[in-house]
């Protein structure tokens, strides 16, 4: 049978049928044409054109490259829940192996041991870093992980209250996602005050009561401050029998206080700080919790078992929590998750090892302090605004309007975030640390 392809390139380049093959297949099925296979009533048949012009691969690559080149080439000093660290080349090389990249959820564990083991290892790495015994194999991002934590709190504390307490300073997007995640439940969200970039523990203790099902605290906070009262906050949560939900990220976990050690019941946050380069906000939601909530955990879990030969083997497990079995009574609707990003994060952590991780986290503290000092030395700026230790990022008070300064810095080739009229937020990691001289010079230029 001839494999001669379409002469007019009129079909999908990824449907491998030659005209002869198509004809033979139609013949076998017993129809004259492909159209005959469609049992679609005339009234709803689409006869028009979509109007999408096909392009060949070469044209399309240069077209999209030209479009993306319209983005300004800025050096970003941006953070706020989406952080950039250097991702070693080998993470791309390994994760893009087609066996990983083009595989599906592991419904047949005997033939997908590789990915299952990688996810089991990812879970284990997070168990080590959080100190909590159960980590799932991903949520979409930090914001949705927080939403899931609140819903878990509602389920395990259903007998009593309905209030989820969050800090008054929380990323506005995270708050908005949380609102939607509790929209269908009887939970409501309330805030507690902050004091100079840390939790105002006395005010929190006053706010928390038997109505409180969960207290969410972040370390580092969205402003980059390191929280100094975690154990006290844990006691407040214990006193009212609320869940203590700690928001963090996978790099910070390498150095800052261990969540289990301060009494955290749930840890959520940004695991994509490792393994994923800046990706316009694409994330990887970290989710870990206590053993006692195991049956209430959202998302997929990989467990170890044995195969018939007695060798250790891995499989998706406790699936009766999940939507494909439990339907409307599932712990979450999540199905597709961020498995491939979790694979990359595990790879990156494996490459760093304990020394590399602690060094990287230490650098996040040192670089922030150094840059803060340098900016504060400039006329018209003072930093950091909060008298705390910082992780990666910090606030800068500006004499001139902050949005104007941010705009002028952009024309100098730098992106920083204007928090409000007189405060900027600046984030520094090893990726942009080499550009701080230029940033300081640009500040001098525009101030």
């Amino acid at each position: 049978m001839s494999r001669r392809r379409h002469e007019d390139a009129d079909g999908s380049p990824y449907a491998p049928h030659s005209p002869d093959e198509t004809a033979a297949m139609l013949d076998e099925v017993g129809v004259e044409s492909e159209a005959e296979l469609f049992d679609v009533p005339d009234d709803v048949r689409f006869e028009g054109e979509l109007g999408i012009e096909p392009r060949n691969e070469r044209e399309l690559r240069s077209e999209i490259a030209a479009t993306l080149a319209k983005n300004d080439d800025l050096t970003e000093f941006l953070g706020r829940d989406h952080h950039t660290h250097y991702v070693p080349s080998v993470v791309d090389g390994l994760s893009e192996r087609a066996e990983f990249l083009t595989s599906y959820t592991q419904y047949q564990p005997e033939v997908t041991q590789g990915f299952l083991q990688a996810l089991f290892e990812y879970q284990s790495l997070l168990v080590e870093l959080t100190g909590l015994p159960v980590a799932n194999c991903s949520m979409y991002d930090a914001a949705t992980a927080l939403g899931e934590a609140a819903r878990l709190a509602g389920r395990v504390r259903a007998a009593s209250g309905t209030t989820v307490l969050v800090p008054e300073i929380l990323h506005e997007n995270k708050r908005a996602v949380l609102e939607n995640y509790v929209d269908g439940s009887d939970l409501s969200i309330d805030t507690y005050p902050m004091d100079d970039g840390n939790v105002d523990v006395d005010a929190l203790a006053e706010r928390a009561d038997e109505e409180t099902v969960m207290i969410h605290v972040e370390n580092p906070t969205v402003r980059g401050t390191i929280e100094e009262h975690l154990s006290a906050i844990g006691r407040v949560a214990d006193d009212v029998e609320a869940l203590f939900c700690l928001g963090t990220d996978v790099v910070a976990l390498g150095l800052l206080e261990e969540p289990a050690g301060v009494g955290a019941d749930v840890v959520v946050g940004e695991a994509d700080a490792l393994g994923l380069p800046t990706a316009y906000g694409m994330g990887l939601g970290l989710f870990a919790t206590r053993e006692s909530f195991l049956r209430q955990v959202p998302g997929r879990l990989v467990g170890a078992s044995e195969d018939e030969t007695g060798r250790r083997a891995y499989t998706l497990t406790l699936q009766t929590r999940e939507q494909h079995i439990r339907k409307e009574r599932a712990t979450s609707n999540i199905c597709t998750n961020q498995a491939w990003v979790a694979l990359r994060t595990a790879m990156h952590l494996s490459l760093l090892g304990p020394d590399g991780l602690v060094d990287l986290a230490s650098e996040c503290v040192r670089e922030a302090e150094a840059l803060s000092d340098r900016l504060s030395a400039l006329e018209g700026l003072s930093a950091p605004v909060h008298d705390r230790h910082h992780f990666r990022e910090f606030l800068v008070r500006t004499d001139r309007p902050a949005p104007a300064i941010a705009g002028e810095l952009e024309t100098e080739g730098f992106a920083v975030h204007a928090v409000d009229e007189h405060r900027l937020q600046v984030c520094v990691t090893e990726v942009n640390a080499g550009k701080t001289d230029e940033l300081v010079a640009a500040f001098e230029e525009v101030l």
């Binding site: 595989s103 979409y140 991002d141 170890a304 609707n333």
Partner: protein, 476 residues
């Protein structure tokens, strides 16, 4: 086809865990140069400490012990495991696209232009008026769509408490509706495998917020009464929601918007060939009619006199993802759609349906519901569909989705996609038929050529070991 999967390891395990290769503890106070006071740091960190060559070998071996669509056929019904074009990876890796979401709109004209065109392409393909790209997966799209429906009803002071979902629907439909706060009303399948109009009439009421439906449905049948279904739901004041899981059957040939659907999600990792990455990331954009556009998540992208900008829809439901969803997935979907164009998209569906029909023709088993399109539900009959699947693994193919939908006894929901050649379809058919011809002993002892032999999944659930820290000491 013969197939022996890679198998590393020893008598105890396959590839050793990272933690079995090394475990090093760093004491923060004594071994590290910590910039923080001790009371703000942890005491120690214990992780594997491995060199790059060791890490590389570890993951390369793991990859070899993993099935993928580039390895062979992966005909999971409703999952649409088609070929993922490699060039799309290069497009997504463009460093100009690696930007932070807090950047100003003026500095991100390229990114916004891609997103704007993708919104437009998806709207055309679905026959919808407005699209959000924010939901990071299909289930997140469902949740978003149902929140939009809820906002719509609330905007009319119309208090509705129920979402109707066919019994054969994806589990996510039930869970997403429940997450949005709705009671789920399950609609039994009609005898012909389609929606039973009388049952639907009985199910709808002034409490009906929406009916969630996929078309073709879960056994591949087109819901021929779709216009009547839309009328029944709309007459009751409800909205019609389209689950895009099966859109790969209809590209360029029929559009949810033209069938009367008000809200839909697209599974770009299915229909538009973005790689599924072993479970994700996906993306689940949502399309809606003009009337519902004001409720979509914020922000959306629009074009104003040649410049692209972000804006909040007038009565937005807010956000369903911390930022704008899964950019790396969205840009690959854009590349795929633009590569195929009208003719390519239509051909993809035509070949997907042809492949399903050709494969079915060669199987020695019953397929209770016809005429199907891109997928079909074969029944394993007296055999256990799970055993049949394990046997197929030894023939160099991945088996179909098993035991679902539940109304088909011992279902084997099969979707070969357009990417399989006639030869690989023949191989698939041989694998099916070999399993159908095998005796029960052969079925139960399979698989033997995969990395692991049959795994005790019940034990994994009874005795959860979810980390290397939790492994029983005997295995250490």
């Amino acid at each position: 086809m013969n197939h022996d999967q890679a198998r590393y390891g020893d008598d105890e395990r396959y590839e050793s865990l990272l933690s079995e290769k090394d475990s090093t503890e760093i004491d923060i106070e004594t071994d590290a140069d910590s910039p923080l006071p001790d009371d703000l740091t942890r005491d120690s960190v214990e992780l594997p400490s491995l060199s790059e060559p060791e890490v590389t070998r570890h993951y390369t071996r793991l990859s070899q012990m993993n099935w993928s669509v580039e390895t062979g056929p992966y005909p999971l019904g409703s999952c649409t495991m088609k070929y993922n074009p490699t060039f799309a990876e290069d497009v997504a890796a463009d460093p100009n696209g690696a930007v932070h979401p807090d950047r100003s709109e003026e500095s991100l004209q390229g990114t916004l232009e891609v997103l704007y065109h993708l919104q437009d392409y998806l709207a055309r393909i679905g026959g919808m008026d407005a699209v959000t790209l924010q939901p990071p997966a299909g289930a997140a799209g469902e949740f978003t769509g149902i929140l939009v429906a809820k906002a719509y009803h609330e905007s009319r002071d119309d208090d509705r408490s129920e979402v109707i979902v066919p019994a054969s629907a994806h589990g996510t439909n039930f869970a997403s509706a429940a997450m949005a706060g709705y009671d789920v009303v399950e609609l039994p399948s009609g005898d012909d495998g389609r929606v039973d109009l009388e049952a639907l009439e009985a199910a709808v009421s002034e409490d009906t917020a929406a009916l969630m439906l996929t078309n073709p449905n879960t056994v591949g049948l087109f819901e021929r009464d779709i216009e009547e279904i839309a009328e029944i739901v709309h007459d009751a004041g409800g909205l019609l929601y389209y689950d895009g899981a099966n859109l790969n059957a209809l590209l360029g040939r029929a559009r949810p918007g033209d069938m009367g659907f008000d809200v839909m999600h697209y599974n770009v990792h299915k229909t538009f060939a973005t790689p599924h990455g072993g479970g994700g990331p996906g993306a689940g954009p949502v399309g809606v009619t003009e009337e519902l556009a004001q409720f979509l998540p914020s922000p959306r992208v629009r074009e104003r006199s040649g410049a692209y900008e972000l804006y909040d829809p007038e009565r937005t439901i807010g956000k369903v993802h911390g930022y704008q969803g899964n950019w790396l997935v969205l840009v690959k979907a854009y590349a795929y759609i633009a590569r195929l164009g009208d003719a390519g998209l239509e051909d993809a569906s035509a070949k997907a349906v042809l492949n399903a029909n050709y494969l079915a023709e060669r199987l020695d088993c019953e397929i209770p519901y016809e005429p199907f399109h891109h997928e079909f539900a074969a029944t394993a009959g007296e055999r256990d569909a799970a055993d049949v699947a394990k046997h197929m693994l030894d023939h160099g193919v991945h088996p179909p989705t098993t035991k679902w939908p539940e109304f088909v006894p011992e279902a084997m929901l099969t979707e070969p996609t357009e990417a399989e050649t006639i030869d690989s379809l023949n191989d698939l058919a041989d694998a099916f038929n070999a399993a159908f011809a095998a005796d029960s002993e052969a079925l139960e002892s399979a698989p033997s050529k995969t990395t692991a032999r049959r795994i005790d999944q019940a034990d994994a659930a009874r005795n959860p070991q979810l980390s290397w820290q939790a492994l029983e000491p005997s295995e250490e």
